[in-house]
Amino acid sequence: MPQYKILTGNYAVAYGVKLSKPQVIAAYPITPQTTIVEKLSEFIEKGELKAKMLRVESEHSAIAAVIGAALAGARTFTATSSQGLLYMHEGVWMASGARLPIVMAIVTRAIFPPWNIWTDHGDLLDQRDTGWIICMVEDNQEALDMIIQAYKIAEDERVLLPVMVGLDSFILSHTATPVEVPDEDIIDSYLPAPGENIHYPKISFENPLTYFNLVFPDNYMEFRYQIQEAMNRAKRVVMEADMKYYKLVGRRYGGLIETYRCTDANIVVVSMGALTGDVKEAVDRLRDEGYNVGALKLRFIRPFPEEELKKELLHKKLVIVIDRAISFGKGGILYTEISSALYEGRFREIPVIRGYVTGLGGRDITVDDVITMVERLITRLESGTLTHGWEWFKLRKEVVE
């Protein structure tokens, strides 16, 4: 029987990792990630997880260590946040270019300076172009489930790309809720045995190879093409991983996106991570007030769910995108990505797409805030003054102007 435990988001991740049975873990402590690896050390110490824990001197070394271990054919795990992820950045590209199915938890945290340990999606979205599959979870249960699914997706022969699983700093990482921990034998039947059926050329003494040698301009593009193709195939693999998980464990998340009361909605609020829960609450309350509003949770940033977004959003009146990060000199990152997907090949008959940049550095966004965001735009939509674009929300203008 599956067990319910009261777990913080970080502990939920650790339980997901434990059930996935990685053989090598390497990480460097950083708030708010640290308790993930602390818990994993405890599992290893108690003999509940048979993995080698490498205590490295930096995040750059952590990713290097799991890259080496994965090349040798081991199932691996690492985790980090913010500065740690940025320090790791060179190795992040190496892991995907090397096509290694590493799984990494990212507890999203604002970037220095100024110091701030609270949630912000800037660190995760900074990895957007690295060739990693990137997903973001809404609650602690999804954190546990997605760590397990991440291995299923990453190790699939059609994919062979590393996966990041993002969860919001503190509001998930340190907040405890009841979480169902699946049975070990169920997950054993879901995931392949670790270290077996390796679909990439692993290091072996019998068949020594030179890895990652110089590639001339006549071949480099083709290696990039192969990563892009793998990303495209990953869309299907994500769905399959979700469905198989559903059959065995009984929970599913809908793949690349999740929709909530979208079918008959003419206004849809798009968000990512824990905030989506508050958006769903706001949708229920707005529905009670007579507004036809729905919520769309962006679960994967890469591969980007263009087709799914077009299908769900193109015929709507208004699409509101809430970003918890900013691309300086441009604007909301998800807003930009979603606008580009919906505009692609079309110059008319698309909804008004409106972005909000808010909640940076952990600024709290409440259900009431979401309702205000929606109602403010409805007023402008009805008066015919609403155009495409983005704006700040909950910015303390009085202290900067």
Partner: protein, 190 residues
């Protein structure tokens, strides 16, 4: 039903642990919960807070708690040091660790239409010699007071949550503290 709870204590008194035990006990009652630490740096002795939500449905909200229904105070002196009434809803409940409610607290609560409950958690811990690192352990006792004052969670579930987290004598002693505090909880008004 959604109940929001704020716990005031001092760094080291176990406000976060209390919130987590509360969520676990609520789970045994078939309720959903969320235990939320204060998101920042904490220091031993300094006034600190933790939060919890309890609901009959899975909880989707992740924002902070601004208008609690229940406020639990681990040290009566915090009533003056921290703004324990901040945001407390009308007809809300204030649960204090004390042997006697001050007239002032009773007056303020009456004015703010706040119900009051108290229990001598420190005295109970001292009597049981339930002391860790020089401080009486009062967080588990205060959960007993919560059970009595709210009738939302049974004392049995509180004890079960405590024993599930600490085996042997420590678990027994903490459960006993919760039980004694439950029995000694005094309700004012409401």
């Amino acid at each position: 039903m959604l109940l929001e709870i704020r716990i005031h204590g001092r760094g080291g008194q176990g406000v976060v642990t209390a919130a987590q035990l509360l969520v676990e006990a609520a789970y045994y009652e078939g309720l959903w919960g969320q235990a939320i630490p204060f998101f920042g740096a904490e220091r031993r002795g300094a006034p600190v807070v933790a939060y919890a939500r309890i609901s009959d449905k899975p909880i989707r909200i992740h924002s902070q708690i601004y208008s609690p229904d229940i406020v639990i105070v681990f040290d009566e002196r915090l009533i003056k040091l921290a703004d324990v009434y901040k945001g407390l809803r009308e007809n809300g409940l204030l649960i204090v660790n004390t042997t006697k409610m001050t007239k002032e607290t009773i007056q303020i609560s009456k004015k703010g239409k706040v119900r009051l409950a108290y229990t001598p958690a420190t005295q109970i811990a001292l009597d049981l010699k339930l002391i860790v690192a020089g401080w009486p352990v009062i967080n588990t006792a205060m959960l007993g007071a919560f059970a009595k004052a709210t009738k939302l969670i049974s004392i049995n579930s509180i004890e079960r949550a405590i024993k599930n987290n600490w085996s042997g004598k420590i678990g027994e002693l903490n459960a006993k503290a919760a039980r004694l505090a439950y029995e000694k909880t005094v309700l004012y008004g409401g």
